[in-house]
């Protein structure tokens, strides 16, 4: 691990100012950052510890939503009574990821900033456009079984690894930040992540020193909340394909609410509202599901080993809709 200067922040703005210099980084749970620092993939020269900031509360908002402090751990968020009762898809998504030990350290804000688990990103003696811009992408013609099929570019096909962020995208969460100059802003999760294009090292819209302080969920959405995760092991494995869903049907079996977000297949948490619109106000028959899957995957591009993710996503989409229509959720 490279040497760094350590400091502990007492207030959010002070943290942002301290971390605004080049090669500075915040640390909270550190479960991903320290792993990457040991491998010298991340080499901050300044580490600003934000764990003592007062950002550990979950509050109800005026419009019936939740405002979650960035330091709320994944364990606490998944077990929070309000989340279990009104946003079970979020509990399910978080519980599908990592282990009890990791979820105890991992934070809400940090989970959004997880780096990809592409093998070449982790293997420092190989080229990687994300780790060392301009060196090339061996994954495109290499070991790419776990990698993305949507949102990819000629520079990068790395998948976004988070389960939590998929549910947050589904729920239209907003990320609140404070910048080094003390100004604040709110960023919809929809607009938070950048596609790799020819700059895969730029993963989100945060500026240098910009600190995530809270994540806000709008009022709950009625319907059946599910999170399905297809993976190589039953536990502690990243998604090959995952699907966060909220589906609600009326008494006649017509879909009134359809929200679908996918993990494992995209370079960012993947949601296509046109697919949801296509399914809404239909009876979810096989033809409609086929059309929805066609639309979702029309730009999907496999690179050999990960080709299987395309039909797997089709089957998962069908399963999620048909199961919801089978009567449990309406």
């Amino acid at each position: 691990m490279k040497r760094f200067e350590y400091s502990r922040a007492d207030a959010p703005k002070q943290a942002a100012t301290s971390a605004s210099s080049k090669d500075a980084s915040f640390i909270a749970g550190g479960t991903n950052l320290l792993d990457l620092m040991k491998l010298e993939i991340e080499t901050p020269i300044k580490l600003v510890d934000i764990t003592r900031l007062e950002l550990e509360q979950v509050e109800t908002t005026a419009d019936g939503g939740l405002r979650i402090g960035t330091l709320v751990t994944n364990s606490d968020l998944a077990a929070h009574p309000e989340v279990i009762a009104n946003y079970p898809v979020l509990s399910r998504a978080i519980l599908a990821g990592a282990t009890g030990q990791l979820r105890n350290r991992a934070t809400t804000g940090g989970n959004f900033l997880q780096r990809t688990r592409c093998y070449y990103f982790y293997q420092t003696d190989s080229a990687c456009n994300k780790r060392e811009p301009g060196t090339g992408c061996p994954a495109i013609n290499g070991e790419n079984r776990t990698l993305a099929v949507l949102g990819t570019s000629d520079s990068c096909i790395a998948q976004h690894p988070s389960d939590m962020a998929v549910a947050m995208r589904l729920l239209d969460a907003t990320i609140e930040t404070v910048k080094a100059d003390g100004s604040t802003r709110a960023i919809d999760v929809k607009d938070f992540y950048c596609l790799p294009k020819d700059t895969p090292h730029i993963e989100n819209v945060l500026e240098a020193g910009e600190l995530i302080t809270h994540v806000v969920l709008p009022a709950p959405i009625k319907g059946m909340h599910t999170y399905d995760k297809v993976r190589d092991r039953a536990s502690y494995a990243f998604a090959l394909v995952s699907c966060a869903a909220v589906v609600d049907a009326d008494d006649n079996g017509n879909l009134k609410t359809v929200r679908l977000a996918f993990g494992g297949i995209g370079t960012k948490p993947w949601r296509n509202e046109e697919v949801e619109a296509l399914l809404t106000d239909t009876d979810g028959n096989s033809d409609v599901i086929t059309q929805a899957a066609d639309l979702l995957l029309q730009d999907a591009k496999g690179n050999g080993q990960n080709d299987f993710k395309i039909p797997l996503t089709r089957r998962l989409l069908k399963q999620v809709i048909q199961r919801a229509l089978a009567g449990e959720g309406a």
Binding site: M1, R3, F4, E5, Y6, I27, G30, T31, L34, D35, K38, L47, D49, T51, S75, A78, A79, E82, I84, A85, N86, Y87, P88, V89, S91, R92, L95, A96, A98, T99, G100, Q101, L102, N104, R105, P220, I221, K222, G223, M224, H225, T226, Y227, D228, V230, R233, A234, S235, Y236, V246, Q319, R323, A326, E328, G329
Partner: protein, 218 residues
């Protein structure tokens, strides 16, 4: 370089000029000769280094010692010593829940916290009902212990040991001591994950395996 005070197993340790890069695990093993916690992978994958920080289980290899000034840290040495075994340690012995023993300190620290999580009604990935998880189920224990790898694959007996303690805790207020709790355990086989199709069928059949409905409760 920094100076800090760590509280480990209720004892305070002053550390002068500690390199900020030092993990909590390395401080314990290399600086303080607290060698119960083991270094397996050093990347948070195996769980051999599991300790409790303020009662919560964490991978001590993935956190910097300098971040834990003032925290209450517990290693296997603080859970029980040979003449004062905790119920879990005794259960691990009684159930032959280890072979080489390298992962065992981490397993027991992890399971110690698991029992607290169950008491707090935390759900898991396999909980049918998020609000009322049935934490005595074999698949619940297996899921909740998935952050601890055992290279000897002593998993069936690890699960038996934890199950025994969980059941004793659950019945502590109502029943007397069971002669051989291991034999009376409801754990009868090794849980293995169903194929995904089975999982889906199960979900449909009992309605709640991987679902939850918003708006019903608040």
């Amino acid at each position: 370089m920094s100076t800090l005070t760590l509280t480990i197993n209720k004892q305070d340790y002053q550390l002068e000029n500690l390199d900020a890069r030092t993990t909590l695990l390395d401080v314990c093993r290399q600086h303080l000769q607290i060698t119960g916690p083991k270094k397996g992978c050093d990347h948070g994958q195996c769980g051999a280094c599991t300790m409790l920080i303020n009662g919560r289980r964490v991978n001590s290899c993935l956190t910097l010692a300098i971040m834990h000034d003032g925290d209450e840290i517990t290693t296997i040495e603080g859970i029980g010593m040979p003449d004062s075994l905790s119920a879990l340690q005794q259960a691990f012995k009684d159930n032959d829940a280890f072979q080489c023993g390298y992962c065992t300190p981490g397993q027991i620290c992890s399971a110690t916290a698991l029992i607290e999580e169950v008491k707090q009604n935390w759900p898991s990935h396999v909980s049918t009902d998020l609000q009322h998880p049935d934490s005595l189920l074999v698949q619940e224990i297996a899921e909740r212990m998935s952050g601890n790898v055992c290279r000897c694959s002593a998993y069936p007996n690890i699960i038996k040991a934890i199950s025994q303690v969980l059941e004793n805790e659950a019945s502590a207020s109502t029943s007397k001591t069971v002669d051989n709790a291991a034999q009376n355990s409801s754990v009868t086989g090794i849980w293995s994950p169903p194929s995904s199709e089975t999982q889906f069928h199960k979900a449909s059949a009992n309605n709640k395996t991987i679902t939850g409905k918003a708006g019903d409760h608040s």
